[in-house]
């Protein structure tokens, strides 16, 4: 009995330890933890932050970074009406395919189109960015250790290099980037974006908004997942209690 007891405790704890160690490795600095509304079992996105974040993406990030897994139709999920999303799409020019004369043509975007990419291919992107490839941002918060905390820290982490630090030409110094030398110059500066809702566009505010937006872009199912998950857990808990009573009723009849 005592050994069973040990086994019950040791096994889950050690799995947690082993898996935690597995991914905590590395010499990159650990960004500070922040409170995000999407954290926790009941976490949701804040629509105003998502929409402000989309504006930051369009006006700042989109000149170098694609967001290829997001379509204009998805914008209705962050609180835009269908007509607003249609209007945003129509402002963009997208490749329209091949016309009857065999010529490629362009047309205004529709809801079904993905957000346009800033560069036709990776080589063009590298050529325009001093050899560095600006990553697609659709999955960026899932693709980086510490996710949203890292993205926020990175965007607000541009500082002067320490004395004697040799910075290569065209590179910037960032407190939170692994190795500190980053090809992306500080993208945000105060009031670079004009928020229609009157929010003051400080660097920290914009970093918060764009991170919020990018976490949605990486996890568009998050709200549905959280709410459905809660119902599933309640159901399974009740079911398990019923199973327990069935077991007791069956075993009560015999000596054991």
């Amino acid at each position: 009995m005592k050994l069973n007891y040990y086994l019950k405790i040791i096994f889950p704890i050690s799995i947690i330890l082993v898996t935690n160690f597995a991914f905590a490795a590395g010499d990159a600095p650990v960004p500070p933890k922040r409170q995000w509304s999407f954290n926790g079992m009941f976490g949701t996105f804040e629509r105003d932050k998502l929409q402000r974040g989309f504006k930051v993406y369009q006006e700042v990030c989109a000149s170098c970074h694609s967001l290829k897994y997001i379509n204009f139709r998805n914008l209705t999920e962050i609180g835009f009406t269908n007509d607003e999303a249609k209007f945003i799409a129509s402002q963009a020019t997208v490749p329209g395919g091949i016309d009857d004369e065999g010529e490629a043509f362009e047309r205004p975007g529709r809801l079904s189109d993905p957000l346009p990419r800033p560069f036709p291919n990776d080589n063009a992107a590298r050529a325009a960015n001093g050899g560095a490839l600006p990553p697609d941002l659709s999955l960026i918060t899932k693709n980086r250790n510490y996710g949203p905390n890292y993205i926020f820290a990175l965007l607000t982490g541009y500082v002067d290099p320490p004395d004697g630090y040799e910075l290569s030409p065209g590179m910037s110094y960032n407190e939170w980037y692994p190795g500190h030398q980053i090809a992306m110059a500080s993208p945000l500066s105060d009031e670079i974006v004009d928020y229609p809702d009157g929010t003051k566009a400080t660097i920290s505010q914009m970093a918060e908004d764009i991170t919020h937006f990018l976490h949605w872009a990486a996890n568009p199912e998050l709200e549905e997942r959280h709410s459905l998950g809660f119902q599933v857990l309640i159901f399974l808990t009740l079911l398990t209690v019923l199973f327990w009573f069935v077991k007791r009723a069956v075993w009560r009849k015999i000596d054991h």
Partner: protein
């Protein structure tokens, strides 16, 4: 599978079927009301049922994923994101499948730990155990191949590291590796055949599982006391007693599983798997999934490539020999004071190896991995045979059920116990 007289059924349809194909009575005799089961099985015996459920979850979710997945180097990553974003409930199906693999391995490791503790592999259940180790091997292959399919960075580089192991084989190694790849590197042909095999192997697992359960049926499950049932008073029908007992475990397992699927779907995931495969950029630190970490540590602990590969395979294959390495006649570790302690040292050693496998190779982690590897094999090759020889087992009760053992004789003596008499 089962011989003997058949049960009579009142339902005319079942009677009609039974007369032509006695499938209902066979199932009831295999894991139903006609299966006599030792009455003292504890909850650790529930993992077989959990494993069956895990296999069913993987096959069902996998079939739906395969409807939307594109098995090409160009399309795989995009198609997975399409499943996550555009397929109805695709995110749920995929997260169930990805976390289902971890559930499967967690259950199989508990299942194996139970077998090692209670000596479930001993006569007459050697073949049952060997079939189980074979299932573990195929499970590992299936999981590894499946991890490659999303074609992210970890998929690609994991596939490169593991398939490269074959090149260590003398003479035919290079040719064999090229043959496995279908080219000169992990590429589109590799992905194509991995997808094909990933769809095939689960059904091989299902088939061998039938043999595993058949072998289980012949002598029935072992039990925590490790003594065979002496008659009807020592057994209970599998249904309804154990079906209901293990339904509770099933419910708790589903709760834990749902928690991971809905709230921490990426807890066991590596961020690099969200970057599309790039043959030109190696991740700084290639780590396998948690369930391969101890074996990965053994692979890296050996300084020689071929030696590493041999030990890597031997670390799982040595389980095949366990029934013949353990010389003790007593099954359950409950009555083996020395073996019981070595058992827990062994579990600690495997966990230590798991930690080493998660670290970059070098320094203290590499040293510990080497010591851990030596102990891992010593446990099977030295501890198991020698402890069996020298250990004096504790007194073993005469029977499983209480009516046979009156309370006043609760402290049994070795003389009265036939199995410890020697």
């Amino acid at each position: 599978m089962a011989g003997g007289p058949r049960r009579q059924y009142n339902n005319p349809i079942i009677r009609w079927i039974e007369y032509r194909l006695p499938i209902v009575s066979t199932m009831e005799a295999t894991l139903g009301r006609d299966m006599p089961t030792p009455r003292n099985l504890n909850y650790w015996w529930s993992m077989g049922m959990i494993l069956t459920v895990a296999l069913a979850i993987q096959i069902l979710t996998g079939i739906f994923l395969a409807m939307h997945y594109v098995p090409t180097a160009e399309g795989a990553f995009d198609s997975v994101e399409r499943i996550m974003r555009d397929v109805n409930n695709g995110w749920m199906i995929r997260y169930m499948h990805a976390n289902g693999a971890s559930l499967f391995f967690a259950a199989v490791y508990i299942h194996i730990m139970r077998g090692l503790y209670y000596g479930s592999y001993k006569a007459p259940r050697e073949l049952l155990w060997i079939l189980g180790v074979l299932l573990l091997f195929i499970m590992m292959a299936t999981a590894f191949i499946g991890y490659v399919l999303p074609w992210g960075q970890m998929s690609f580089w994991g596939a490169t590291v593991i398939t490269n192991l074959f090149s260590a084989i003398p003479l035919i190694g290079e040719t064999l590796t090229t043959w496995i790849w279908g080219g000169f590197a992990v590429d589109n042909p590799t992905l194509n055949r991995f997808f094909s095999l990933h769809y095939l192997l689960p059904f091989v697992i299902a088939g061998i599982t039938v043999l595993h359960i058949w072998a289980l049926h012949v002598h029935g499950p072992s039990n925590p006391l490790g003594i065979s049932p002496k008659g009807k008073h020592d057994t209970l029908p599998y249904h309804p007693y154990y079906t209901t007992k293990y339904l509770t475990v099933f419910g708790i397992t589903l709760i834990i599983f749902a928690f991971f699927v809905f709230y921490e779907p990426l807890y066991l995931n590596h961020p690099d798997s969200f970057k599309p495969a790039d043959p030109l950029s190696t991740p700084s630190h290639i780590v396998p999934e948690w369930y391969f970490l101890p074996f990965y540590a053994i692979l890296r602990a050996i300084p020689d490539k071929l030696g590493g590969v041999i030990m890597f395979i031997a670390s799982v294959a040595i389980l095949f020999l366990v029934p013949f390495l353990d010389t003790s006649k007593v099954r359950s570790a409950r009555f083996r004071p020395i073996y019981k302690q070595f058992y827990w040292i062994f579990i600690a050693d495997v966990l230590l190896l798991g930690w080493c496998g998660s670290q970059p190779a070098g320094g203290i982690a590499l040293l510990l991995a080497r010591l851990g590897t030596v102990y891992y094999f010593a446990h099977f090759l030295l501890v198991m045979p020698l402890v069996g020889w020298f250990e004096k087992p504790r007194a073993i009760p005469e029977g499983i059920s209480k009516p046979v053992i009156p309370k006043e004789r609760a402290g049994f003596t070795a003389e009265t116990s036939p199995e410890a008499a020697e």
